[in-house]
């Protein structure tokens, strides 16, 4: 089964971003993604650039909770084909930038 693609996340115990040990794992995952995005997009390896391109205020950005505010923007990205490829994963531009911002926090 391709279950190993999912590793710890298939059993429903995936983190919700709160202060549990699961949250740490979730944060680590998003930070890995963010670093990767920044490496692939050196022109966006900057907090201010990312904040501006995401159209969000500095105060709200940076934690995992902030990601959940981007749901509609993410869907809009996919609908308009605004995606990036990170290690083969097709991610919305907003997902990539938001993860990059978290990784800079």
């Amino acid at each position: 089964m391709v279950g190993s693609l999912l590793s710890a996340c298939t059993d429903g115990s995936a983190s919700d971003g709160s202060e549990t040990s699961g949250a740490t794992e979730a944060e680590r995952a998003v930070i890995r993604l963010g670093r990767r995005y920044r490496a692939d997009h050196p022109d966006e390896d900057d907090r201010d650039v990312l904040l501006e391109r995401l159209g969000v205020a500095a105060g709200v950005a940076g934690s995992l909770r902030f990601l959940s505010t981007l749901d509609a923007q993410v869907a809009e990205d996919y609908a308009s084909g605004r995606t990036v490829r990170l290690d083969g994963w097709v991610l919305s531009q907003t997902e990539g930038r938001a993860a990059a911002l978290v990784s800079l926090a």
């Binding site: 996340c9 971003g17 869907a75 083969g88 994963w89």
Partner: protein
């Protein structure tokens, strides 16, 4: 009636109004259409009712260029069967019609365009439904979703289309043998291998076809009209081998017989992580559907829409999402962004947990290339016919279209809030073809290696080698399937396809065979 040619005396001449060579999907369909026509029809099949080593050996040949299978495998005998029923004795039964765009001239694809439009085939596709044993002539997923509870497709019309592949592996030989044998009009001749198409000098007519048993007993068939229906590799082989009077071979005045050999490329191109459990995705599992007496399995196929193909100058590509273990077993990824990372991201954004992994099995059409071709080899087979040499070529646009399909599918799943796609083709070890991945192989994925000239398997669909065209300068047969320079010789099967499309060929082969039989009936009646 049934004749076994091994019981015929050497030199026997069989006579009929119509002589069809080859009893696969095409030949059997033509013969059946002419049952009770009042015409005398000979259906000459090289093999018997079961495969034999002697008959199978006649299919051996040489493959140069791209491989059909792993080095050392029996590439030209594994992908065809030489006995009554032909390759439908082991085909998968996956059926879809060609799309309207397949018939168009697409300026970015050299040699594209058919001399007929898709609408010409519509009535014949309808009739082909019963011949193949399908559950109706609807192939749009929304119809099956609404009328037969076939599960919701996440694909909205736009950049992708959602079509319903109908799967029914009709065994033409078994199912239609009795009917043909009982017919007064049709004589099935088994163990009758065509060895040459005979044309008279200075004439545009075929006079006879030379035949032989595998033991070399020679006889022949004379008829008013002849049809070659021996499959996409043997049709050009026999035309090329018939080079005693016309030295380049019959129908080869423009050096086009055997050129443009096309296949379908297939590969495990990627994976998907989907929200919720597999039960939420019934459309991603082949679903049995019964309509009247016909029962098929339905498979949701997503395809690049005609708009995307045109805008981005691609070839047709599409695929199936499997939530079952097929075709991948476990996938290990040591470096880079993993599925677990993406699942965490998805959960953080949408609040929903990922619960289903899926594999993306993707196929593409081929861009036609005159150097991808069937020619004659240096050796001859046991009955004196030069063995075949197949030089298979592939083009960069084919792989690009497959990966673009995966990307657009990822965008569609993301838009619907259902999940994420990872492109994997090129990064899998072992490679897809060497793993013979039908059985749930385990893979290691190196995401840095994704793309490039990744590994594919052929669909076992041999097409375009006697392609249909509006003029002899660009094809071998005309819009009716008649060989341009030979008035009483027709070709049937996927060798007449002008381009291959991305749909599997057999449903179209049957539709074209019904159309040809209709034409022959009126031609021979007058």
């Amino acid at each position: 009636m049934l004749i076994d040619a091994t019981e015929l005396p050497a030199g026997q001449v069989l006579r009929a109004d119509l002589c069809v060579i080859g009893a696969g999907a095409a030949g059997i369909t033509i013969a059946r259409e002419l049952v009770r026509s009042g015409l005398d029809v000979l259906l000459c099949e090289g093999g018997g009712l079961e495969p034999t080593p002697g008959s199978t050996d006649l299919y051996r040949g040489e493959v140069t260029g791209r491989r059909f299978g792993p080095e050392g495998s029996a590439e030209l005998t594994d992908n065809r069967l030489r006995y009554f029923g032909g390759s439908t004795n082991h085909w998968g039964g996956f059926c879809l019609p060609l799309d309207p765009i397949d018939f168009e001239r697409r300026p970015w694809l050299p040699h594209s365009g058919w001399p007929i439009e898709r609408a010409v085939l519509d009535p014949y596709y309808q009739r082909a439904v019963d011949v193949v044993g399908l559950a109706g002539d609807r192939f749009d997923w929304p119809y099956w979703e609404q009328e037969h509870d076939a599960g919701t497709s996440p694909i909205e019309p736009g950049r992708l289309s959602a079509v319903a592949g109908q799967i029914w592996p009709q065994r033409f030989g078994e199912v239609y043998r009795e009917e043909l044998v009982a017919s007064d009009d049709v004589t099935v001749v088994l163990n009758a291998n065509a060895t040459r198409v005979n044309v008279a000098p200075e004439s545009d007519l075929v006079t006879s076809i030379s035949l032989a048993t595998v033991d070399g007993v020679a006889f022949s068939a004379e008829a008013t009209v002849f049809v070659l229906a021996m499959g996409g590799i043997e049709n050009p082989r026999l035309l090329l081998a018939s080079n005693d009077v016309r030295t380049a071979g019959v129908g080869n005045g423009h050096d086009l017989v055997g050129r443009f050999f096309a296949e379908h490329l297939q590969t495990l191109a990627g994976f998907a992580l989907l929200r919720g459990g597999p039960d939420q995705y019934p459309a991603f599992q082949a679903m049995p559907v019964a309509v009247g007496e016909h029962q098929v399995a339905l498979s949701l196929v997503a395809q690049l829409s005609a708009e995307v193909i045109r805008e981005e100058e691609l070839v047709g590509a599409g695929g199936v999402i499997f939530t079952e273990p097929f075709p991948a077993g476990s996938v290990q990824q040591r470096e880079g962004i993993t599925g677990a990372d993406v699942a965490h991201l998805a959960r953080s954004v949408s609040g929903q947990a990922v619960g289903t992994s899926a594999s993306l099995l993707v196929a593409s059409e081929q861009q036609l290339d005159p150097d991808s071709r069937v020619t004659l080899g240096d050796d001859v087979d046991g009955i004196g016919v030069p063995r075949v040499r197949v030089h298979w070529k592939q083009a960069e646009v084919e792989r690009r279209s497959m990966l673009r399909f995966c990307e657009v599918l990822g965008q569609e799943l993301g838009r619907a809030g259902l999940g994420h796609v990872q492109l994997a083709a090129g990064g899998l070890r072992p490679s897809f073809s060497s793993s013979q991945s039908q059985s749930g192989s385990d893979y290691e994925l190196d995401p840095g290696a994704v793309g490039g000239d990744f590994d594919v398997l052929p669909g076992n669909h041999h097409m375009c080698t006697t392609r249909m065209a509006s003029a002899a300068s660009s094809g071998v047969v005309d819009a009716d399937g008649r060989v341009f320079d030979t008035a009483n010789l027709y070709v049937a099967g996927s060798s007449v396809f002008s381009t291959g499309g991305v749909s599997p060929p057999t449903f179209t082969i049957v539709a074209l065979a019904i159309r040809l039989a209709e034409r022959l009936r009126s031609e021979l009646a007058s």
